[in-house]
Amino acid sequence: MLEFLNPMLRPEWMISLLFIGALLTYFAGKVSSALRTTFAIIFSVFVAFLVFLSGSRDVLTYWRPSASPMGFRFVLSINALSWFFALMISMVSALTIVYSAGFGKNTEKDNAFYGLNLLLMGAMLGVVFSGDMLSFFIFWEIMTLASYLLTTLAGKRAEKGALNYMIISTAGAYSILIGMTMIYTRFGTLEFSGLASVMGGADPMFLLITLSMLGIGFAVKAALAPFYVWAPPAYSEAPDSFTPVFSGALSKLGPYGFTLFMYGIVGLPALAKMGTFRGISDFGYIIALLGSITAVIATLYAIAQDDIKKLLAYSSISQLGYVMMGIGIGTSIGVAGGLYHALNHAIFKTTLFMGAGVLIYTTGSRKLSDMGGLGTKMPITFLTMLIAIFALAGIPMTGGFGSKWLLYEAAIDKKFVLIAPLAFIASVGAFLYSFRILQSAFLGQLPERLKGAKDPSPLITIPMLFFAGLLVLFGIAPGIPLGIIASVESYLGIPALNVSTYSVYLGANFGAYNAFTVMTVITLALLVALALFFIAKKSRKVGQTDTYMAGEVPEHHVDLYLHYSMNFYRPLERIFAPYLRNRLERLYDAFGSGYELISEGIRRIYTGDVQHYVYYVMVFLAVMILAGWWWL
């Protein structure tokens, strides 16, 4: 029935549709806000549907520009790997646009907001669909620019965060450019397909340099250990309805880059040539180690945050550390775990940031200690965020556990005794800070001013419910996502995972995880518990402030001293405070101000006194003549 869409299933169609859509939405906004929002939703959802339909059959499009000096052609291709990431990105961006339409605040900035959102979606799809290095770099730069402009829409508070984000990601993009040009000059071709066959032969030293240059660029985007400095301020200061895309979809391009270049182009055998450690490449091991270290550090920071968006920002960095750990461990289980966790992270982080947006919209403040007791007032938001937090913490009832399980299997199978404990501590820490959100925002005492809080408009809750439903579905049948990932792995040349709908068979001396059995046991146990619950007398519901306070009556006007959420993990913070004094931020600032001093020195060269200038010219001439004389 949808055959008529077939011609549209080509990558250049989707990207150009989005770019045109961006312009149309921007100018439609000048006319009427309703038109602009509908345009934005139509374009994004339609393209997301197209991406979904396109499936993972290989599609290649060539376009040779007429008079380019370097004589090459642009290539756009859909393959298993790019389709998997495109699915993730389009799903998150489309539904986030629907989500932000629900807020309905109509300011001049909204035209720019929706236009840039579509542009960003197009750029991200461009990066993922690009078949050659130059289009990859061009779309990468467009994506950085679009996300930077979107961050600046948040106004004064986002100024420092946006500038830092732009500087560090441009530096990363430039290191990618250098890496790419090194490959281009060595092999003469830009297209990934051409490179894949040739790259294997290169000498390990060359491979190391190029991969590390590219790696720096992708590590910046994936907020890996030394480069995550830009992430917390950027994620938390960006506009509330943009952060889901920022941390949900945008951050996935780092891992995409790593997977593409490490396994898609260089390939496992060539990586192995660079030295192996217990069966996996040294390069991969370093990335895995960096990933797990990032996970722990970011978790310790996240536990101490009171601002909900900053907390979620640190949590995204730590979860991305997990993804990088998975991709770093090159075995089929490791990469499957990494990719599956990237998908899970895209879903539950988007839901969490959407929920955070709703909370900030209802309570008007970003501090967790100002919220409280919204669980009963906003049940849908509470339920969706609860499921997302279950996935974040990796509770077996949701999809989140599957990816974490695969990561641990991979780490333990290869006896990585440094990565596995770090990962586990980060996961327990994840459970701590995710519960902090629940406790501060949804449980505890409901303050007087939030009495009127209720669930937001359906436009907001539908995307959140969709994502929550997806997480539960993955909890029951992890086979669906793992099936796609298996096809991606076979495309990348890694031995694919043997997957059935409910469980994964890893091999002889591995544990097993049958999601179906776990879920059935949980439901049966639930029935038993409910039965036990309903045997005894029905419980009588009492008011919220009717709690045991040593007989004291909580005076009504003293609103929130009953709500324990300020300094929730004070003892922990006190222990970790000496080690967590933002050393990395201070290092970056020192580097920045150091350079300012150097440039202050340089500025002094231009003294403004013409004698000096003449003196410079004469010295230059004298040196030149001597050099000329001596040389020739």
């Binding site: 404990p421 949804f442 591995f510 776990v518 146990a525 036990l532 007398k537 922990l572 222990i575």
Partner: protein
């Protein structure tokens, strides 16, 4: 197949019954330590009966009710995935990592319910519980990792199978020692019972739970006792399988020996509980992340060395 299902049904009933019995006996032992007569050994059953027969149960909201329900669900599910007393139950479908994450469900449910009660004491209690969990997870994970690395598998059933010759306790004594220290906090016994400290935070999370809620929590705790002890036994004490000859009699002996082991472990924890005062929460955290972690790392290094070499 029918035998399997029967075992699956009766095991939880047996475990909760024995759990309550052991808790009663432990109260008697603690009393004897304090040189007093102490309650009858079946006191725990009376308490549970009284709690369930309360004529009025006071609850706050539906999230408050979920607390105890989740606690029981978490413990029941975890229990079924741990090989107990010679029976493999469902441990073929979920390995050690699944079990470690399933353990978290009951803690999470309790935290949710306590938070929903709106009492600040509950909030503080939950914070202490989570901090304590993070504290003892570090050494516990490293010691369990040592075993997994040594036997090169994550499946509990296989670990139990491989220990038929020699218990892991003998091969990796340090890891076993650290795991036992962590067990003290998992049971929630004295030096590490900050979350439910009666004097400081009025029994922490369960301050608003009375009547049937408290009864359900007590049942959950009894199952929990068997889960945590059972986990330790499976990893370090060969799943309590002393006699390996075939035949029903040996299986019965094994089962009884396993029950004895659980009782022994729990008594050890209770004896420590009877005499030790309570740490402050940050002292407990620093305690767990200092010496037990160092010992666990040494054990891990040893296990790695032995397994790789």
């Amino acid at each position: 197949m029918i035998a399997e299902i029967l075992v699956l049904i009766f095991m939880p009933v047996f475990v909760s019954f024995m759990g309550l019995l052991f808790m009663g006996i432990q109260r008697k032992i603690t009393a004897r330590v304090q040189n007093r007569i102490g309650p009858p050994f079946y006191q725990q059953f009376i308490d549970v009966m009284k709690l369930f027969s309360k004529r009025e149960n006071i609850g706050h909201n539906w999230v408050f009710d979920i607390g105890p329900i989740f606690a029981i669900v978490g413990m029941l599910t975890t229990m079924l995935f741990i090989p107990m007393g010679g029976f493999r139950l469902l441990s073929m479908d979920g390995d050690l990592i699944v079990v470690m994450y399933l353990l978290v469900i009951s803690g999470l449910g309790m935290a949710l319910g306590a938070g929903a009660s709106g009492n600040p004491n509950a909030g503080i209690g939950v914070m202490r519980g989570l901090t304590l969990m993070m504290a003892y997870e570090m050494p516990f994970v490293i010691s369990v990792l040592a075993v997994m690395v040594y036997y090169h598998t994550t499946s509990l059933a296989e670990i139990v199978g491989m220990q038929s010759g020699m218990w892991a306790l003998i091969i990796l004594p340090l890891s076993a020692l650290v795991a036992d220290m962590a067990l003290q906090a998992q049971f929630g016994k004295k030096p590490f019972d900050q979350p439910i400290a009666p004097a400081e935070v009025a029994t922490g999370p369960i301050v608003e739970y009375g009547g049937k809620y408290l009864g359900m929590l007590m049942v959950a705790h009894s199952i929990g006792m068997f889960v945590e002890a059972g986990l330790f036994i499976d990893i370090f004490l060969g799943g309590g399988l002393l006699f390996h000859q075939p035949g029903i009699i040996w299986q019965v002996f094994n089962f009884l020996f396993w029950v004895l082991l659980v009782f022994a472990l729990y008594t050890l924890a209770v004896l420590v509980n009877a005499i030790m005062p309570r740490y402050r929460i940050d002292q407990a955290f620093v305690f767990y992340w200092k010496w037990p972690t160092i010992i666990a790392i040494i054990g891990l290094a040893y296990a790695l060395g032995v397994s790789v070499w």
